[in-house]
Symmetry: C2
Subunit: 443 residues, 2 copies
């Protein structure tokens, strides 16, 4: 950060980061004192890799007006030292205190970023993405590239539910659009993350006995979330709700249940994003409500390193519980959660099939009874994810009449040893019958 | 109206109408006194067939609070008697004074109306429509029917330009959507109509020497229209502007020219709807700006009965000047302007090819030098209209790879005498390869 500050023009911010304190020794949250000496004039706001916490330096806190007197916002935490002074670490909604003073990206910066992302996706064999919580300015870039014929990845965009009125107003419904770009969904947040200790549980964390997480700002009050979701559902928009802690999941299932009772049966395909830590009592009604569990298996082999220390054995046994989901007849949709995790789908398959944590301590799988087979994983990752965006008749399998989105791999993932899957390479990526990436053409 | 009032429940309105005073003897505007005696308790608001004038009875005027003291709004006219009292006839923006007190349609009423319209279109061989100025609630009905698989006509919807912010905000561009429903266009109004004497001309009407028409409320001030159009174009939305009088057309070309200068060259497909009475000086720049003339030939054989009396021979010679448009290399898109005119496309073809006015007084054509051939008419009505909605690669011709939208007619319109074309029947209507109407199955 010090090196970067020397090259950063006055007035510009240092951002990005993707830090993970669990990989440091000691594994403690960073404070602004770590970076203040090397950034005396440059505002810094670098995020934890999960996006649920960021570290600001003193310049950034000053620009944002965050002091010892600033109250913690609903749905967020200003981490403080013993004297009550902000340490620089801001959790969930507290990040907005700084975000709102950061200059927005220019259109040109967005175009550049989207083009890099498209090239990255093509190189990894990703032919469709579900884009959670885009800015409308991002959708404008997608539209522009669509019209120039430059979209090489299909996008289903789900703006934040706080903006529900914008889509309901003009009369569009779920999955509105064409094969390369659709809107009509909404992303909501019920709580935070396990790593930032902001996922909302019924019981406290094992390592933080006075903390059982926090509900997001969108859930204050819960009736606000319910009203927005009712409005969205009445208009035919699809709901995709981030819920990680068992109580957050339970509360969203409560709302989904109320919507179904209030509006009657319909093919609405409610989603819960992550569905990470399930209460034992909730599997059945999750299935009965036909909610889709939109899960990212890579998190299991990453968080699996330390999750049990935070929530104990019992809750860990219902964490990333993919096998239990299938046993209850629930539909799975697989994804990566990029850029929280890597975009490489081979890592997703590897993680779902092996559950071998990144620290090498669980070579036979962390809670191995939750492992999926390769065919189950591929089915959930293709047809399951297509179903989760209402496109199971258009994609999700190599079938005559469907979109010709295909990937040629270096190995047969159905026959090689599972631990080799993470090393499989993409040789060609084909979208709509066109080769959009070819390994043979790379240096 | 008196009969209808007897069956109308208390509190409900009598609407519709589509009256045309030119067909009455004497050909004078109606007044509320004609209907007040038979509608003592029922509000009535019946529109002239062109939609640019409506007649209110006294109950309706009272509900709307329109009195002798009510000032005429910008872009509208309250027709008054010698004492200054409203006669009940309200032109253009003045109609909004009453419209705003009429209860809106319910969702069920809209669904019923849209279904009837779809069936009507299918029966006439109409496979695609461009829907100018829909309510968002109408688009919501289209979306609902789309998801139920019940749309049998493809729709490109262009909400009113006063709502420009709603579409620019979410990042969509022109023709956004799928093969059955697209949005991303805006309908604007520059002026009124010839029949209501509200089309905006450089010189006064021959029969109303103190009136040269009025600009619409959207043009007060013109800078407001320019700002909205600049904003729409910057966001990539398509502009479809109603302009009938020669000065209104000229002013819109001015704005289109400014947009092109300001934003640079692009495939934006500006449209002028009607382009009815052209100034001689404007044909060239109309072509240079690549503006599409979106015209409705049936109006020529209807208005042709009386247009010369209103605007004189010289201006009439540049009225519905389809041949002159083609000579200048301009692109035409043909349509019906339903429900201002009938939806039957055979009447459009008949009108463009014969220009034989409905009163039988011009059997060889009104300004016959402006007649089109059948092939020219069909090209403009299919490929031209497809181009005007950015879909020339998807439809507009029967070509492998395009949408299978086709009509089977009772006769070969390319070989029968032109005057027989109006009697040609549709035997089958095929949309997306599915028969959506079959004459053989009707009683």
């Amino acid at each position: 950060i010090g090196d970067r500050a020397k090259q950063t023009p006055k007035g510009e911010w240092i951002m990005g980061g993707d830090w993970d304190e669990t990989k440091w020794t000691p594994a403690k949250l960073p404070t602004k004192e770590l970076i203040d000496p090397v950034t005396p004039e440059t505002p810094v706001f670098v995020n934890r890799y999960d996006g649920h916490m960021s570290l600001a330096n003193s310049v950034a806190l000053q620009l944002a007006g965050v002091t010892a007197k600033t109250p913690g916002p609903l749905g967020g935490v200003i981490v403080r030292d013993a004297q009550g002074n902000p340490t620089g670490a801001l959790k969930d909604a507290a990040q907005d205190l700084v975000n709102k003073v950061i200059p927005p990206l220019t259109h040109e910066q967005r175009v550049k970023a989207v083009k890099r992302a498209l090239a990255h996706a093509a190189s990894l064999g990703v032919t469709s993405v579900q884009n959670m919580d885009p800015d409308y300015e991002d959708i404008a870039v997608y539209s522009e590239l669509l019209q120039r014929g430059e979209l090489t990845t299909r996008i289903y965009a789900a703006p934040l539910i706080t903006q529900v009125d914008d889509q309901t107003k003009i009369g569009i419904r779920h999955a509105f659009g064409g094969p390369f770009l659709r809107i009509g969904a909404l992303k909501a947040f019920a709580d935070g993350s396990l790593g930032s200790a902001t996922a909302y549980f019924f019981q406290p964390f094992e390592d933080q006995p006075n903390n059982h997480g926090i509900l997001s700002d969108e859930m204050h009050p819960v009736s606000l979330m319910r009203d927005r979701m009712m409005k969205a559902d009445a208009a035919g928009l699809q709901l995709c709700t981030h819920a990680i802690g068992d109580q957050a999941i339970s509360m969203i299932l409560d709302i989904y249940s109320e919507i179904t009772k209030s509006h009657g049966a319909a093919d609405r395909r409610f989603r819960i994003e992550h569905a990470q830590h399930m209460a034992a009592k909730d599997f059945d009604r999750f299935a009965q409500l036909h909610v889709i569990a939109s899960v990212q298996p890579y998190h299991a082999i990453d968080d699996g390193r330390w999750a049990e220390a935070r929530i104990g054995h019992d809750r860990a046994s219902r964490t990333y519980a993919f096998r239990t989901f299938l046993n209850h007849g629930m539909r799975l949709a697989l994804g990566t959660d990029w850029d929280v995790a890597a975009l490489n789908p081979m890592l997703t398959v590897y993680a779902a099939v092996t559950r071998a944590t990144l620290d090498g301590k669980n070579p036979n799988g962390w809670f191995p009874e939750q492992k999926l087979t390769v065919p189950e994983t591929i089915e959930a990752y293709t047809m399951g994810s297509a179903y989760a965006e209402f496109q199971e008749n258009e994609k999700g399998s190599i079938t005559a009449g469907k979109l010709a989105d295909m990937v040629l791999l270096s190995d047969d993932i159905f026959s090689i040893p599972p631990e080799k899957i993470r090393d499989v390479k993409v040789l060609k990526t084909i979208v709509g019958g066109k080769i959009v990436w070819d390994a043979a053409e790379q240096k």
